[in-house]
Protein backbone atom coordinates (compact mmCIF):
# COMPACT_ATOMS: atom_id res chain seq x y z
CA UNK A 1 0.00 0.00 0.00
CA UNK A 2 1.54 3.27 -1.12
CA UNK A 3 0.37 6.72 -0.02
CA UNK A 4 1.02 9.37 -2.64
CA UNK A 5 1.59 12.95 -1.51
CA UNK A 6 0.73 15.51 -4.16
CA UNK A 7 3.56 17.89 -4.99
CA UNK A 8 2.31 21.33 -5.99
CA UNK A 9 5.54 22.79 -7.27
CA UNK A 10 6.30 26.07 -5.59
CA UNK A 11 4.12 25.81 -2.51
CA UNK A 12 3.14 22.88 -0.30
CA UNK A 13 4.78 21.46 2.79
CA UNK A 14 5.23 17.98 1.41
CA UNK A 15 8.28 17.29 3.54
CA UNK A 16 6.43 17.51 6.86
CA UNK A 17 3.56 15.41 5.62
CA UNK A 18 5.79 12.69 4.19
CA UNK A 19 7.70 12.48 7.44
CA UNK A 20 4.56 12.23 9.58
CA UNK A 21 2.97 9.61 7.29
CA UNK A 22 6.16 7.56 7.55
CA UNK A 23 6.08 7.85 11.32
CA UNK A 24 2.52 6.52 11.14
CA UNK A 25 3.83 3.48 9.29
CA UNK A 26 3.06 4.52 5.72
CA UNK A 27 5.07 3.90 2.58
CA UNK A 28 5.13 7.28 0.90
CA UNK A 29 5.75 8.42 -2.65
CA UNK A 30 5.75 12.02 -3.85
CA UNK A 31 3.37 12.43 -6.78
CA UNK A 32 4.45 14.97 -9.41
CA UNK A 33 2.35 13.97 -12.40
CA UNK A 34 -0.53 11.90 -13.72
CA UNK A 35 1.52 8.73 -14.26
CA UNK A 36 2.76 8.76 -10.71
CA UNK A 37 -0.78 9.36 -9.47
CA UNK A 38 -1.89 6.15 -11.17
CA UNK A 39 0.71 4.14 -9.22
CA UNK A 40 -0.34 4.99 -5.67
CA UNK A 41 -3.15 3.48 -3.60
CA UNK A 42 -4.09 6.47 -1.49
CA UNK A 43 -3.64 10.17 -1.95
CA UNK A 44 -2.83 13.04 0.40
CA UNK A 45 -3.26 16.60 -0.83
CA UNK A 46 -1.14 18.93 1.33
CA UNK A 47 -1.99 22.42 2.35
CA UNK A 48 0.24 25.43 2.14
CA UNK A 49 -0.47 28.20 -0.30
CA UNK A 50 -3.48 30.03 -1.60
CA UNK A 51 -6.52 28.46 -3.29
CA UNK A 52 -5.89 30.24 -6.57
CA UNK A 53 -2.21 29.33 -6.77
CA UNK A 54 -2.81 25.73 -5.76
CA UNK A 55 -5.32 25.20 -8.55
CA UNK A 56 -3.01 26.87 -11.07
CA UNK A 57 -0.12 24.64 -10.00
CA UNK A 58 -2.23 21.50 -10.24
CA UNK A 59 -3.27 22.46 -13.72
CA UNK A 60 0.31 23.13 -14.76
CA UNK A 61 1.50 19.73 -13.52
CA UNK A 62 -1.30 17.91 -15.31
CA UNK A 63 -2.58 16.51 -12.00
CA UNK A 64 -5.82 18.45 -12.10
CA UNK A 65 -7.77 16.09 -14.35
CA UNK A 66 -6.69 13.01 -12.41
CA UNK A 67 -7.64 14.54 -9.10
CA UNK A 68 -11.05 15.72 -10.30
CA UNK A 69 -11.95 12.10 -11.01
CA UNK A 70 -10.12 10.51 -8.10
CA UNK A 71 -11.78 7.49 -6.53
CA UNK A 72 -8.90 6.30 -4.37
CA UNK A 73 -9.08 7.19 -0.68
CA UNK A 74 -7.96 10.79 -0.61
CA UNK A 75 -7.20 13.08 2.30
CA UNK A 76 -6.97 16.84 1.82
CA UNK A 77 -5.16 18.81 4.51
CA UNK A 78 -5.92 22.47 5.25
CA UNK A 79 -5.81 24.11 1.81
CA UNK A 80 -5.83 20.55 0.43
CA UNK A 81 -9.24 20.11 2.09
CA UNK A 82 -10.44 23.46 0.82
CA UNK A 83 -9.68 22.72 -2.82
CA UNK A 84 -11.87 19.59 -2.63
CA UNK A 85 -14.73 22.11 -2.78
CA UNK A 86 -16.62 23.54 -5.71
CA UNK A 87 -15.52 27.15 -5.37
CA UNK A 88 -12.94 29.18 -3.48
CA UNK A 89 -12.85 32.91 -2.80
CA UNK A 90 -9.19 33.47 -1.92
CA UNK A 91 -7.59 36.07 -4.22
CA UNK A 92 -10.62 36.07 -6.50
CA UNK A 93 -13.13 33.35 -7.33
CA UNK A 94 -11.55 30.03 -8.34
CA UNK A 95 -13.06 26.67 -9.23
CA UNK A 96 -11.92 23.81 -7.02
CA UNK A 97 -11.81 20.05 -7.60
CA UNK A 98 -15.55 19.86 -6.99
CA UNK A 99 -15.31 16.54 -5.13
CA UNK A 100 -17.42 17.86 -2.29
CA UNK A 101 -20.27 20.31 -2.69
CA UNK A 102 -18.90 23.22 -0.68
CA UNK A 103 -17.53 26.73 -0.90
CA UNK A 104 -14.48 28.21 0.75
CA UNK A 105 -14.95 31.58 2.38
CA UNK A 106 -13.06 33.85 4.77
CA UNK A 107 -13.52 33.14 8.46
CA UNK A 108 -15.82 35.79 9.91
CA UNK A 109 -15.25 36.03 13.64
CA UNK A 110 -14.74 38.66 16.27
CA UNK A 111 -11.18 37.50 16.96
CA UNK A 112 -7.80 37.37 15.30
CA UNK A 113 -7.61 35.87 11.83
CA UNK A 114 -5.88 33.64 10.74
CA UNK A 115 -7.02 31.15 13.33
CA UNK A 116 -3.69 29.78 14.49
CA UNK A 117 -2.92 27.31 17.24
CA UNK A 118 -4.10 24.13 18.92
CA UNK A 119 -7.84 23.65 19.13
CA UNK A 120 -10.09 20.67 19.82
CA UNK A 121 -12.44 18.86 17.45
CA UNK A 122 -15.97 17.65 18.23
CA UNK A 123 -16.83 14.61 16.18
CA UNK A 124 -20.38 14.88 14.83
CA UNK A 125 -20.36 11.82 12.56
CA UNK A 126 -18.42 8.74 13.48
CA UNK A 127 -15.87 7.67 10.98
CA UNK A 128 -12.75 5.50 11.18
CA UNK A 129 -10.61 8.48 10.19
CA UNK A 130 -11.29 10.10 13.56
CA UNK A 131 -11.31 6.94 15.67
CA UNK A 132 -10.07 7.71 19.16
CA UNK A 133 -9.62 11.39 18.41
CA UNK A 134 -12.77 12.92 19.89
CA UNK A 135 -11.87 16.14 21.71
CA UNK A 136 -8.20 15.82 20.84
CA UNK A 137 -6.17 18.92 20.06
CA UNK A 138 -5.02 19.65 16.53
CA UNK A 139 -3.03 22.47 15.03
CA UNK A 140 -4.93 24.96 12.89
CA UNK A 141 -3.48 27.66 10.67
CA UNK A 142 -6.04 29.14 8.28
CA UNK A 143 -7.88 32.29 7.25
CA UNK A 144 -10.58 30.54 5.21
CA UNK A 145 -13.09 27.85 6.05
CA UNK A 146 -15.07 25.25 4.14
CA UNK A 147 -18.79 25.99 4.15
CA UNK A 148 -20.71 22.71 3.90
CA UNK A 149 -23.73 21.31 5.71
CA UNK A 150 -24.02 17.72 4.54
CA UNK A 151 -20.62 16.04 4.72
CA UNK A 152 -19.41 17.08 8.15
CA UNK A 153 -17.25 14.78 10.29
CA UNK A 154 -16.21 17.25 12.95
CA UNK A 155 -16.71 20.83 14.06
CA UNK A 156 -14.41 23.21 15.88
CA UNK A 157 -15.20 26.30 17.85
CA UNK A 158 -13.04 29.39 17.48
CA UNK A 159 -14.02 32.14 19.90
CA UNK A 160 -17.70 31.40 19.53
CA UNK A 161 -17.58 30.73 15.80
CA UNK A 162 -18.21 27.14 14.79
CA UNK A 163 -16.72 25.84 11.57
CA UNK A 164 -16.21 22.55 9.76
CA UNK A 165 -12.91 20.98 10.79
CA UNK A 166 -13.30 17.64 8.97
CA UNK A 167 -15.41 16.48 6.04
CA UNK A 168 -16.06 13.18 4.32
CA UNK A 169 -17.87 11.96 1.23
CA UNK A 170 -17.38 8.44 -0.13
CA UNK A 171 -13.61 8.01 -0.42
CA UNK A 172 -12.84 11.69 -0.07
CA UNK A 173 -11.73 13.13 3.28
CA UNK A 174 -10.62 16.56 4.32
CA UNK A 175 -9.27 18.06 7.53
CA UNK A 176 -8.86 21.79 8.12
CA UNK A 177 -6.12 21.25 10.69
CA UNK A 178 -2.61 19.94 10.13
CA UNK A 179 -2.21 16.35 11.37
CA UNK A 180 1.49 16.56 10.52
CA UNK A 181 1.80 19.39 13.06
CA UNK A 182 -0.43 17.96 15.78
CA UNK A 183 1.90 15.75 17.80
CA UNK A 184 0.70 12.20 18.49
CA UNK A 185 -2.95 12.93 17.66
CA UNK A 186 -1.93 13.81 14.13
CA UNK A 187 0.15 10.66 13.73
CA UNK A 188 -2.86 8.68 14.97
CA UNK A 189 -5.08 10.30 12.34
CA UNK A 190 -2.57 9.34 9.64
CA UNK A 191 -2.53 5.77 11.02
CA UNK A 192 -6.32 5.72 10.76
CA UNK A 193 -6.14 6.97 7.17
CA UNK A 194 -3.53 4.37 6.23
CA UNK A 195 -5.68 1.63 7.78
CA UNK A 196 -8.95 2.75 6.11
Amino acid sequence: MIVGVINYGISGNIHSIKKALEKAGGVVKIVNNKNELAKVNKVVIPGVGSFKDAMAELEKSGLLEGLKEIEKPTLGICLGMQILSTLGYEYGKTEGLNLIDAEVKPIIVNAKVPHVGFNTISVVNNNRLLDGLENEEFYFMHSYEVVNYTNILSLTNYEGHQFVSAIHKDNIYGVQFHPEKSRESGIQLFKNFIEL
Binding site: H15, L79, V116
Partner: protein, 251 residues
Protein backbone atom coordinates in the same frame (compact mmCIF):
# COMPACT_ATOMS: atom_id res chain seq x y z
CA UNK B 1 -8.19 30.64 22.30
CA UNK B 2 -5.31 28.76 23.84
CA UNK B 3 -2.22 30.92 24.11
CA UNK B 4 0.62 29.30 22.24
CA UNK B 5 3.87 28.61 24.03
CA UNK B 6 6.60 28.92 21.46
CA UNK B 7 10.28 28.16 21.72
CA UNK B 8 12.64 30.61 20.09
CA UNK B 9 16.00 29.31 18.98
CA UNK B 10 18.46 32.11 18.29
CA UNK B 11 20.92 30.55 15.93
CA UNK B 12 24.41 31.58 14.99
CA UNK B 13 24.98 28.64 12.68
CA UNK B 14 25.59 25.92 13.55
CA UNK B 15 24.67 26.59 17.21
CA UNK B 16 21.85 28.00 19.26
CA UNK B 17 23.32 30.87 21.24
CA UNK B 18 22.26 32.95 24.15
CA UNK B 19 21.64 36.42 22.89
CA UNK B 20 21.60 39.56 24.97
CA UNK B 21 20.41 42.55 22.98
CA UNK B 22 20.48 40.14 20.05
CA UNK B 23 24.23 39.57 20.31
CA UNK B 24 25.08 35.88 20.31
CA UNK B 25 27.11 35.11 23.38
CA UNK B 26 27.28 31.47 24.26
CA UNK B 27 26.60 28.19 22.52
CA UNK B 28 23.77 26.29 24.13
CA UNK B 29 23.35 23.36 21.75
CA UNK B 30 22.47 22.53 18.19
CA UNK B 31 19.09 23.62 16.82
CA UNK B 32 18.01 20.07 16.01
CA UNK B 33 18.76 18.58 19.43
CA UNK B 34 17.15 21.48 21.25
CA UNK B 35 14.08 21.52 19.01
CA UNK B 36 13.60 17.81 19.69
CA UNK B 37 13.87 18.30 23.43
CA UNK B 38 11.28 21.07 23.47
CA UNK B 39 8.96 19.19 21.14
CA UNK B 40 8.99 16.28 23.57
CA UNK B 41 8.27 18.66 26.45
CA UNK B 42 5.12 19.87 24.71
CA UNK B 43 6.10 23.09 22.93
CA UNK B 44 3.35 24.37 20.63
CA UNK B 45 5.76 25.68 18.03
CA UNK B 46 9.42 26.28 17.40
CA UNK B 47 10.84 29.32 15.70
CA UNK B 48 14.39 29.26 14.41
CA UNK B 49 15.93 32.69 13.99
CA UNK B 50 19.30 33.00 12.32
CA UNK B 51 20.61 36.06 14.12
CA UNK B 52 23.71 36.69 12.03
CA UNK B 53 23.16 35.82 8.40
CA UNK B 54 21.23 38.90 7.46
CA UNK B 55 23.88 41.19 8.88
CA UNK B 56 26.76 39.36 7.22
CA UNK B 57 24.80 38.94 3.97
CA UNK B 58 25.28 35.22 4.29
CA UNK B 59 23.01 32.69 2.70
CA UNK B 60 20.57 30.69 4.73
CA UNK B 61 22.03 27.47 6.14
CA UNK B 62 19.46 25.06 4.81
CA UNK B 63 20.98 21.80 6.09
CA UNK B 64 20.62 22.56 9.78
CA UNK B 65 17.11 23.89 9.22
CA UNK B 66 16.10 20.69 7.48
CA UNK B 67 17.62 18.62 10.25
CA UNK B 68 15.69 20.64 12.82
CA UNK B 69 12.43 20.30 10.88
CA UNK B 70 12.92 16.54 10.85
CA UNK B 71 12.62 16.34 14.63
CA UNK B 72 9.33 18.20 14.84
CA UNK B 73 5.68 17.29 14.51
CA UNK B 74 4.58 20.79 15.46
CA UNK B 75 4.78 24.02 13.46
CA UNK B 76 8.22 25.25 12.62
CA UNK B 77 8.95 28.84 11.69
CA UNK B 78 12.21 30.07 10.22
CA UNK B 79 13.53 33.60 10.12
CA UNK B 80 16.75 35.38 9.24
CA UNK B 81 18.34 36.29 5.91
CA UNK B 82 15.25 35.66 3.80
CA UNK B 83 15.66 37.74 0.66
CA UNK B 84 13.66 36.15 -2.13
CA UNK B 85 10.70 34.06 -3.12
CA UNK B 86 13.19 31.35 -3.95
CA UNK B 87 14.48 31.31 -0.36
CA UNK B 88 10.92 31.07 0.93
CA UNK B 89 9.95 28.28 -1.42
CA UNK B 90 13.01 26.28 -0.49
CA UNK B 91 12.33 26.72 3.23
CA UNK B 92 8.82 25.34 2.83
CA UNK B 93 10.15 22.41 0.88
CA UNK B 94 12.61 21.42 3.57
CA UNK B 95 10.00 21.55 6.30
CA UNK B 96 9.32 25.11 7.42
CA UNK B 97 5.66 25.94 7.94
CA UNK B 98 6.12 29.67 8.26
CA UNK B 99 8.81 32.10 7.36
CA UNK B 100 9.58 35.25 9.30
CA UNK B 101 10.75 38.21 7.26
CA UNK B 102 12.22 41.40 8.63
CA UNK B 103 15.26 43.13 7.14
CA UNK B 104 14.45 42.57 3.49
CA UNK B 105 10.89 43.81 3.84
CA UNK B 106 11.86 46.85 5.89
CA UNK B 107 15.04 47.91 4.09
CA UNK B 108 14.61 46.65 0.53
CA UNK B 109 11.18 45.73 -0.68
CA UNK B 110 8.04 45.44 1.43
CA UNK B 111 6.15 43.95 -1.51
CA UNK B 112 7.85 40.62 -0.77
CA UNK B 113 5.12 40.31 1.89
CA UNK B 114 2.34 40.72 -0.68
CA UNK B 115 3.95 38.39 -3.21
CA UNK B 116 4.78 35.64 -0.77
CA UNK B 117 1.36 35.81 0.93
CA UNK B 118 -0.35 35.38 -2.40
CA UNK B 119 1.71 32.34 -3.33
CA UNK B 120 2.12 30.60 0.01
CA UNK B 121 -0.98 31.81 1.84
CA UNK B 122 -1.20 34.56 4.47
CA UNK B 123 -0.87 32.16 7.37
CA UNK B 124 2.60 31.13 6.25
CA UNK B 125 4.04 34.64 6.16
CA UNK B 126 5.22 36.08 9.46
CA UNK B 127 6.71 39.53 9.80
CA UNK B 128 9.35 39.81 12.45
CA UNK B 129 9.41 43.23 14.11
CA UNK B 130 12.33 44.35 16.24
CA UNK B 131 11.13 47.31 18.23
CA UNK B 132 13.32 49.88 19.91
CA UNK B 133 11.72 52.19 22.40
CA UNK B 134 12.16 55.94 22.18
CA UNK B 135 10.47 58.56 24.33
CA UNK B 136 7.00 58.27 22.92
CA UNK B 137 7.15 55.69 20.15
CA UNK B 138 8.86 52.51 19.01
CA UNK B 139 11.09 52.30 15.96
CA UNK B 140 11.63 49.24 13.75
CA UNK B 141 15.17 47.95 13.74
CA UNK B 142 16.65 45.36 11.43
CA UNK B 143 19.60 43.01 11.28
CA UNK B 144 18.95 41.80 14.80
CA UNK B 145 18.65 45.12 16.49
CA UNK B 146 21.57 46.81 14.80
CA UNK B 147 20.19 49.01 12.04
CA UNK B 148 17.62 51.79 12.41
CA UNK B 149 14.87 52.09 9.83
CA UNK B 150 12.97 55.23 10.79
CA UNK B 151 9.71 53.25 10.58
CA UNK B 152 7.19 53.51 13.38
CA UNK B 153 6.39 50.06 14.80
CA UNK B 154 2.63 50.54 15.09
CA UNK B 155 2.33 51.97 11.57
CA UNK B 156 4.49 49.20 10.18
CA UNK B 157 2.44 46.54 11.99
CA UNK B 158 -0.72 47.89 10.33
CA UNK B 159 1.01 48.07 6.97
CA UNK B 160 2.23 44.47 7.05
CA UNK B 161 -1.28 43.31 7.91
CA UNK B 162 -2.58 45.21 4.88
CA UNK B 163 0.10 43.64 2.76
CA UNK B 164 -1.03 40.15 3.71
CA UNK B 165 1.17 39.02 6.60
CA UNK B 166 -0.55 36.31 8.63
CA UNK B 167 1.24 36.90 11.88
CA UNK B 168 3.57 39.29 13.66
CA UNK B 169 6.53 38.10 15.66
CA UNK B 170 7.32 40.96 18.00
CA UNK B 171 10.70 41.36 19.61
CA UNK B 172 12.08 44.17 21.70
CA UNK B 173 15.61 45.38 21.12
CA UNK B 174 15.67 46.80 24.64
CA UNK B 175 14.25 43.83 26.51
CA UNK B 176 15.58 40.85 24.56
CA UNK B 177 17.70 38.42 26.54
CA UNK B 178 17.60 40.48 29.72
CA UNK B 179 14.97 38.41 31.47
CA UNK B 180 13.41 41.44 33.16
CA UNK B 181 9.89 41.05 31.85
CA UNK B 182 8.29 42.14 28.60
CA UNK B 183 7.77 45.62 27.22
CA UNK B 184 4.11 45.40 28.18
CA UNK B 185 2.97 48.61 26.51
CA UNK B 186 4.66 47.66 23.24
CA UNK B 187 3.02 44.23 23.29
CA UNK B 188 -0.40 45.63 24.04
CA UNK B 189 -0.24 48.39 21.45
CA UNK B 190 0.79 46.06 18.67
CA UNK B 191 -1.79 43.38 19.58
CA UNK B 192 -4.51 46.04 19.66
CA UNK B 193 -3.38 47.68 16.41
CA UNK B 194 -3.87 44.63 14.17
CA UNK B 195 -6.35 41.85 13.61
CA UNK B 196 -3.74 39.18 12.87
CA UNK B 197 -2.12 37.05 15.59
CA UNK B 198 0.82 38.56 17.41
CA UNK B 199 3.52 36.49 19.07
CA UNK B 200 5.43 38.38 21.71
CA UNK B 201 9.06 37.65 22.51
CA UNK B 202 11.87 39.25 24.49
CA UNK B 203 11.80 39.39 28.22
CA UNK B 204 10.51 36.22 29.86
CA UNK B 205 12.64 35.97 33.01
CA UNK B 206 10.14 34.36 35.35
CA UNK B 207 6.87 32.47 35.07
CA UNK B 208 5.15 35.57 36.34
CA UNK B 209 6.47 37.62 33.43
CA UNK B 210 4.76 35.24 31.01
CA UNK B 211 1.48 35.34 32.88
CA UNK B 212 1.66 39.12 33.10
CA UNK B 213 2.15 39.70 29.37
CA UNK B 214 -0.65 37.26 28.48
CA UNK B 215 -3.07 38.92 30.87
CA UNK B 216 -2.10 42.45 29.94
CA UNK B 217 -1.57 42.33 26.18
CA UNK B 218 -3.48 39.17 25.20
CA UNK B 219 -1.04 38.00 22.53
CA UNK B 220 -1.77 34.85 20.54
CA UNK B 221 1.48 33.35 21.66
CA UNK B 222 4.55 33.91 23.79
CA UNK B 223 8.02 33.04 22.59
CA UNK B 224 10.50 31.90 25.19
CA UNK B 225 14.24 31.37 24.91
CA UNK B 226 16.64 31.89 27.82
CA UNK B 227 14.18 30.80 30.47
CA UNK B 228 14.08 27.36 28.88
CA UNK B 229 17.67 27.11 27.75
CA UNK B 230 19.16 27.96 31.15
CA UNK B 231 16.79 27.75 34.03
CA UNK B 232 15.84 24.11 34.10
CA UNK B 233 12.27 25.10 33.46
CA UNK B 234 10.35 22.88 31.11
CA UNK B 235 7.47 23.71 28.80
CA UNK B 236 5.24 21.66 31.10
CA UNK B 237 6.30 23.76 34.12
CA UNK B 238 5.23 26.85 32.19
CA UNK B 239 1.94 25.36 31.00
CA UNK B 240 1.02 24.02 34.42
CA UNK B 241 1.72 27.40 35.99
CA UNK B 242 -0.38 29.19 33.37
CA UNK B 243 -3.26 26.71 33.70
CA UNK B 244 -3.23 27.19 37.45
CA UNK B 245 -3.39 30.92 36.85
CA UNK B 246 -6.54 30.49 34.77
CA UNK B 247 -4.88 30.93 31.37
CA UNK B 248 -5.88 28.53 28.60
CA UNK B 249 -3.01 26.63 27.01
CA UNK B 250 -2.78 23.42 25.03
CA UNK B 251 -1.78 20.08 26.60
Amino acid sequence: MKTRIIVKLDVKPPYVVKPVHFEGLRKVGTPSEMAKKYYEQGADEVIYVDIVSSLYQRDIIFDEIEKTANELFIPFGVGGAIRSMKDISRLFHIGADKVAINTYAVQEDPSIINKSAEVFGNQAIVVNIEAKKWDNYWECYTDCGRIQSGKDVIEWAKEVEQRGAGEIFLQSVDYDGRKRGFDLELCKEVVDAVNIPVIVASGAGTLKDIKEVIEYAKPSGVAIASLLHYDNLTIQNIKTYLKNSGIEVSK
